[in-house]
């Protein structure tokens, strides 16, 4: 059963060659791993998943006012010619309290901010803004989470940067921390 006598030199060479195939395949994988390691995105900060909505116009929605005396919010209100922020928040959301000072800071820097209050009641929203500050121009009441779903947002707080034509430029997931304020200001400036 050893090497068959009728095997000619060519088949023998062929057989020798085939034995190297596993190593060649492995080498391809190694090259690929090296590429991924040295040129791919491996730092977690870069891995924030970009929303598919970035570059898209705001989806259609139209929300009733959340507070008496303050206008509600619809997607048509956003194409004002000036870039602005749309902030999803709720009075029952703890990180929203954490980001409130940053929103106030943005407001003081002259940024126009609209809000969508998610699954909330007017009296709670009122109390929240009394206590933690009120940076908003318009506040829409998203009682059924419909705007939230239309925007593919997964939770509160979440903030969208919208340009003058009502097109989404950036989606910020989670609370705005002090270090995010310059980034957002830059994004707003870039959308001008």
């Amino acid at each position: 059963m050893s090497d068959k006598p009728d095997m000619d030199a060519q088949t023998l060479a062929m057989k020798r060659f085939v034995l190297w195939v596993p190593l060649v395949i492995a080498a391809v994988f190694f090259g690929f791993f090296s590429y991924a390691l040295f040129f791919g995105n491996t730092s977690p900060q870069q891995r924030a998943i970009e929303s598919q909505l970035v570059g898209q116009p705001m989806p259609e929605f139209s929300l009733q006012p959340s507070l008496p005396g303050r206008p509600g919010l619809s997607s048509a209100d956003l194409a004002t010619g000036e870039p602005r922020l749309v902030n999803f928040f709720a009075s029952w959301c703890v990180p929203c309290i954490a980001e409130a000072p940053q929103l106030m800071q943005l407001r003081e820097a002259g940024v126009a901010i609209d809000a969508i209050a998610v699954r909330d009641r007017p009296e709670d929203v009122f109390a929240f803004l009394q206590r933690w500050g009120d940076p908003y121009e318009r506040i829409g009441a998203d009682t059924q989470s419909e705007a939230q779903l239309a925007l593919g947002s997964s939770g509160v707080p979440e903030t969208f940067v919208v340009d003058g034509d009502g097109v989404i430029v950036r989606q910020h997931i989670g609370d705005i921390r002090p270090e995010h304020v310059p980034e957002l200001l830059a994004a707003l400036e870039g959308a001008r």
Partner: protein
């Protein structure tokens, strides 16, 4: 001093590992028997030293010694002791130390117990094991030192990822590692056999128990990991095709194929080159998995220890070991004589089908796991490959594999007749048709994969018992029982998967106290919520009253937990297990006005998935004991002769 003792033990072990390699090479070059006899004790002491180093690390974690960087970064004084203990390997450095400890322990076990293998091949095997060891000692000591001091010492630790604070996870990683790293023995055996050109039945019989042992641990580790993900992540799924899960599945697939091909080699002296190749591939998959998970090139829900610099180090080790073994394979396997031939319709033929299908599934899983990397490299787009791909590609092959598994054990070695085979599988085939009939007549329409899964599970369950048919049960060898039980376990597990995916019911509701919902055979009433506190978390706990039909009501209490260090929320599912399935309840967010999100699942026969896994591992254990006992007997007989 504890940390310094651990570090010293580790350095000593590394030195001994180097010595083991030098001795091995010397003994192979000349016939110096002095060096050859020294290699076994060196391997044993090396194993003991790494075990000592690991024990020191456990001690540091139990004491929460915050002057050690690793402890400060991953532990917390308020943590329950079990998680301080398990926290030892719940981080990169600690788990790499466990890796190395198991690698060294495997080497010393081979040095102590392996008597069957030719002396030269054994020396080559131990040399290969130490060559692997050296690289990983270097990695540990230079790039991931677990004993590094922190000065000044921290006042409090940063805590362990709450998802890992679970009794199941205390023991899942060590179990998985024993399999993952234990399979390195097969790799070293293969390298050893290539060096001495000693590939044959004796080699295969010597290697088989080691493969079986690590395969049992892999099986248990995967089953435990799957159950952990099922109840701890609160998503109600038992397999997510996550890169880390795939990283443990790939060595299992290769080891399963190896287990079957090594039997062909041991019994019939065929598939020599292929068996060697599989042994190399199995451990290569372990190393590739470690690389993918640790380097951060893939994102994963499990990726809790990511560092690209370490990735470079592991990649270098990968290239060295896998590349080296494959180059040796290319140079040497041509000189290994071809084994015996056989007909397709034979036990060997069926085992080849098993190997081809397992390898194909392995390829599919590997490509699916790496595909996102490839796409990102070419187009820069980020995507993830999930169940739709894996189920559609690996699913049908797995079903084919299981069908082949029903027939394989009923075939004779060397050559068999189609007619006889058909006779032997007629009863299982009948049972499958009855299952098909019952599903079509009595069940609501279900997907094609679960449907085929259920039909096959019924037939295969019967077929797996068929090898015992008309045999003297008391004289049937233990390893035949092992095979029967392991194959039965596959059928049981598959039945669980098919039932779960075909007949699960899910209800997602927003409830107020007093609301009642129906899911499966249960009515669930939401009574109240109350705050509860644990040692390092607070939670909102829902009080649910659960009633099955007209039976006695009982209560379940799912929690939404907030951990204080690090700050994380987890959901603790509450599960009621019945003989025919599980009620799985998860508490979601409140809306602030007294309504709470509640997710309820009825999962019929879902427990069969893990029960099957335990059966598979138990079958493996019976085979292992049976094989070892028979070897021992035949060795005794030889020494008498």
């Amino acid at each position: 001093m504890i940390a310094e003792t651990g570090l010293a033990a580790l350095w000593l072990a590394a030195a001994l590992c180097g010595l083991q390699l030098v001795f091995g090479v010397m003994a192979l070059r000349s016939d110096d028997s002095g060096v050859a006899t020294a290699i076994r004790p060196v391997a044993v002491v090396q194993g003991i030293l790494t075990a000592l180093a690991f024990a020191m690390l456990i001690w540091l974690f139990l004491r929460t010694d915050l002057s050690v960087e690793l402890v400060a970064a991953n532990s917390h004084s308020a943590k329950p002791w079990l998680y301080k203990f398990a926290g030892t390997w719940g981080n990169h450095e600690g788990s790499m130390l466990l890796w190395v400890a198991i690698l060294a322990a495997s080497g010393s076990l081979v040095a102590i117990f392996e008597r069957r293998l030719k002396e030269k091949t054994l020396i080559a095997t131990l040399a290969a094991q130490s060559a692997i060891g050296l690289g990983f000692y270097a990695f540990l000591l230079f790039a991931s030192n677990p004993f590094a001091r922190l000065s000044p010492a921290a006042t409090e630790g940063r805590g362990l990822n709450p998802l890992l604070q679970d009794p199941g996870l205390a023991f899942h990683p060590p179990t998985l590692y024993f399999g993952y790293v234990g399979i390195s023995i097969a790799f070293s055996f293969a390298v050893g056999a290539l060096i001495t050109r000693d590939v044959g039945p004796v080699f295969a019989r010597a290697m088989r128990p080691w493969i079986l042992a690590s395969w049992i641990f892999l099986t248990l580790g995967i089953a435990a990991g799957s159950y952990w993900a099922y109840y701890e992540l609160g998503w109600g799924g038992w397999w997510f095709w996550d890169p880390v899960e795939n990283a443990s599945l790939m060595p299992w697939l290769a080891a399963t194929a190896l287990l079957h091909s090594v039997t062909v080699l041991a019994t019939r002296d065929a598939l020599r080159a292929w068996t060697i190749m599989l042994a190399v591939v199995a451990f290569s998959m372990s190393m590739v998995g470690t690389f993918l998970v640790r380097s951060g090139v893939l994102t994963s829900v499990h990726a809790f220890a990511v560092d690209p610099r370490r990735g470079t180090f592991i990649l270098a080790l990968l290239i060295l070991y896998i590349g080296g073994a494959l180059a040796l394979y290319a140079l040497r396997v041509g000189t290994v004589r071809e084994g015996s031939r056989f007909e397709f319709m034979s036990r060997e033929g069926a085992l080849v089908v098993n190997n081809v299908l397992l390898s194909a599934i392995l390829g599919i899983v590997l490509i699916g796991t790496l595909y996102p990397l490839g796409v990102e490299a070419v187009t820069g787009e980020q995507l993830s490959v999930g169940p739709p791909y894996f189920n559609a590609t690996a699913g049908p092959l797995a079903l084919l594999l299981v069908a082949a598994m029903a027939v394989g054990p009923l075939l004779r070695w060397r050559r068999d007749e189609w007619r006889n085979v058909l006779g032997r599988i007629s009863l299982p085939a009948l049972i499958s048709s009855l299952a098909l009939f019952a599903l079509v007549m009595f069940a609501s329409p279900i997907g094609i994969l679960p449907m085929l899964g259920l039909i096959l599970a019924a037939g295969v369950g019967a077929a797996s018992l068929a090898p015992l048919w008309k045999r003297n049960l008391r004289r049937t060898p233990l390893f035949t029982y092992g095979m029967v039980i392991a194959h039965l376990g596959i059928a049981v597990s598959m039945a669980g998967m098919a039932f779960e995916s075909a007949f699960s019911e899910e209800v997602l509701v927003a409830v107020r106290p007093g609301d009642t919902h129906q899911v499966g055979p249960y009515t669930v009433t939401f009574d109240s919520t109350r705050p509860v506190a644990g040692p390092n978390w607070t939670a909102v706990e829902a009080g649910l009253t659960v009633r099955r039909g007209e039976g006695e009501p009982s209560s379940l209490a799912p929690q939404a937990r907030m951990f204080s260090s690090p700050q994380t929320e987890t959901s603790e599912a509450a599960i009621r297990t019945a003989w025919n399935g599980q009620l799985y309840t998860v508490l979601g967010n409140g809306d602030g006005s007294g309504r709470w999100q509640l997710r309820l699942w009825w999962k019929p026969f879902v427990t069969l998935i893990w029960f099957g896994g335990i059966l598979i591992a138990f079958g493996g254990l019976l085979s292992l004991v049976g094989r070892v006992r028979r070897e021992r007997k035949s060795m005794e007989r030889e020494s008498w002769a």
